[in-house]
């Protein structure tokens, strides 16, 4: 464990300002959105939406704009993968390949640390990074909620933020672990980044519309996408936790599967420089 944490610690020290900067920036965006929505009179818009045909409303998905949780989710949590995911994928794509490209991997792997421990150290760092990032962002959102009359009238549901923290961290984890897996295959930053970004968008288009458009665009392929199991509209928007345990289990399973696959590939391959 000492060796794993040594690898994790150095990565955290290296990226601490990036983590703080990104977390504060996105957190402030969340805070701004909470305040922006709190100042809007949405009853007129809701009255207009009520006049729309049901088939059109189905396309928009379960959006209840009179509910601040639902509205805030549509603007913020549904796009969290884009705000944070892209940066995380970029970082995960370069963690190992950059060490190969800079020849530092020889220096590290010639010391008494196994490849598994080395890669596990990097993976632990990515989860710590994702969790800290989400923690920072949600702290700003929580502060915004606590100071917003709109949310105070609706009631403060911290358990919804807790559910977002868990599922968003795990969902970001799947994006990062996909990049880590590709990085063990290619050991090249450019190839890994290309493969991970293409996979991310493919997954989004396969399953990303589920959360907002519901059954209107139901497609069996969506079950293969991790976006199907990331449902902030349900947990945060409506407080519906019926799918939460199942979603959590699937996301954990995908993360574990990708970690095991990465360790397997990395253990067996040549480290060429």
């Amino acid at each position: 464990m000492k060796k794993i944490f040594a690898v994790t610690k150095e990565e955290l020290v290296d990226k601490k300002w990036f983590l703080i900067g990104l977390g504060v920036l996105i957190g402030l965006l969340g805070l701004y959105l909470v305040n922006l929505l709190s100042g809007l009179d949405l009853t007129g818009l809701q009255a207009y939406l009520d006049t729309l045909p049901e088939s059109l409303l189905a396309l928009l998905g379960p959006l209840d704009i009179a509910n601040p949780y639902s509205l805030f989710n549509a603007y913020f949590f549904s796009f969290l993968w884009l705000y944070c995911g892209v940066f995380l994928v970029y970082m995960a794509s370069s963690l190992v390949p950059q060490e190969v490209e800079n020849n530092t991997i020889d220096l590290v792997l010639s010391k008494p640390v196994s490849r598994e421990k080395y890669l596990t150290g990097k993976i632990v760092f990515l989860y710590v990074f994702a969790a800290c990032l989400m923690g920072l962002i949600l702290a700003f959102v929580a502060a915004g909620m606590a100071s917003s009359n709109m949310f105070l009238e609706e009631g403060l549901h911290w358990e919804r933020l807790g559910a977002i923290f868990l599922t968003a961290t795990l969902h970001l984890g799947t994006l990062a672990m996909t990049a880590v897996f590709f990085s063990t295959v290619f050991l090249s930053t450019k190839k890994t980044l290309a493969a991970a970004v293409v996979t991310m968008f493919l997954m989004f288009f396969m399953g990303g519309s589920y959360g907002t458009a519901g059954a209107a665009v139901d497609n069996p392929l969506r079950y293969a996408s991790t976006w199907t199991y990331y449902n902030p509209a349900q947990y945060f928007g409506t407080g519906n936790f019926a799918n939460f345990p199942g979603d959590l289990a699937v996301l954990i399973g995908v993360n574990v599967g990708l970690i095991l696959a990465s360790l397997y590939v990395f253990k067996r391959r040549d480290i060429l420089v």
Partner: protein
């Protein structure tokens, strides 16, 4: 059961696609010896080392270090060895101190930091400077400290002095010899510079195109190597006259370029040229040792001619027999 063997490879082979990196390498390095591993760039030195360190995997054959299989017991092995890569990569935004501290945390035992500071002082390295601000030689010093500070049983050094200035180069070999003497550790030194290896190695192995073609003591290799003699004459006619008097059976590759003449001769036969030299009207004389490349030419210059190519090996075998008789 422990043996006196530090490194052993049996038919170790590595293919990169269809291209062989090394082929059927059988190598034995004894505990406590300094073994020079010689070869030109691309000969297979680094491939061998990377296989020993389990950074790449063998296509066939096996290798053991300190009685442990390099593939299955890699982490245990690396607890007892230190490696300096040929192309040292450093963490650019880190200080030398942070780099070394991180690397030493990966050992189960503690590495004495006072020793690190002492080595940095001796090698004149500022541990608190970021590595991006360091010259190539100073970066190399980080690698040198990373192998000299931990108390290990085997040092694997791949071109350890590349980028070092002559003063630090000498200091490095002094420190290495001190460490080897104090701990009795084994040193596996890969280099393509014969002078470097000649200084410290007990035995050397020569690798060419992935095949180990010779293992000999440095003395044997030195006797094998030809001396390069270069003379500058007062006039081209004097050069020609000198050439006519040279015993043709003792010199090789006589060439003349205006007033300059060059030839190769065996070390032990240099004395036989003294009469000719005293008669020659030369104004400058330079005799230098063979470089590794010269020895390779001796070995493989006539690679197409099998008999010629085997000559050096026959001479080494004959030298060994002579030495065994003396013993």
């Amino acid at each position: 059961m422990t043996t006196t063997i530090a490194i052993q490879t049996r038919n170790l082979t590595k293919y990169y696609g269809k291209n062989p990196g090394i082929k059927n390498l059988n190598l034995t390095v004894h505990k406590g010896e300094i073994f020079g591993f010689l070869g030109l760039n691309g000969a297979g030195k680094t491939t061998t080392i990377r296989l020993l360190l389990d950074l790449i995997r063998a296509s066939s054959g096996e290798a053991t270090i300190l009685d442990h299989n390099v593939k299955t017991d890699s982490e245990q092995i690396r607890e007892r060895i230190a490696y300096l890569p040929g192309e040292l990569g450093v963490f650019k935004d880190w200080t030398a101190s942070r780099t070394l501290s991180y690397l030493f945390k990966l050992y189960d035992r503690n590495v004495n930091w006072e020793k690190v500071e002492h080595l940095a002082h001796t090698l004149n390295l500022d541990l608190h400077k970021k590595t991006r601000e360091l010259s190539r030689g100073n970066k190399q010093k980080i690698g040198i400290i990373s192998v000299l500070a931990p108390d290990v049983e085997l040092l694997v050094l791949d071109e350890p002095t590349s980028g070092l200035d002559p003063l630090v180069n000498n200091e490095f070999y002094k420190l290495l010899l001190e460490k080897q003497k104090d701990l009795g550790c084994t040193v596996f030194l890969s280099s393509h510079q014969l002078e470097e290896v000649e200084k410290i190695a007990h035995r050397v192995g020569i690798i060419r195109q992935g095949t180990l073609i010779e293992v000999a003591t440095v003395n044997q290799l030195k006797q094998l190597a030809l001396k390069h003699v270069e003379l500058r004459f007062t006039s081209p006619s004097n050069a020609k006259n000198f050439a006519d008097k040279l015993p043709k059976n003792l010199v090789k590759n006589w060439t003349v370029d205006g007033t300059r003449g060059r030839f190769l001769a065996k070390r032990e036969e240099l004395a036989r040229f003294l009469p000719q030299l005293s008669e020659g009207a030369f104004i400058d004389l330079n005799i230098r040792d063979s470089t590794l490349e010269d020895i390779f030419l001796e070995y493989y210059g006539a690679a197409s001619n099998a008999k010629q190519a085997n000559k050096p090996r026959k001479r080494i075998l004959s030298l060994r027999r002579k030495e065994e008789k003396v013993v």
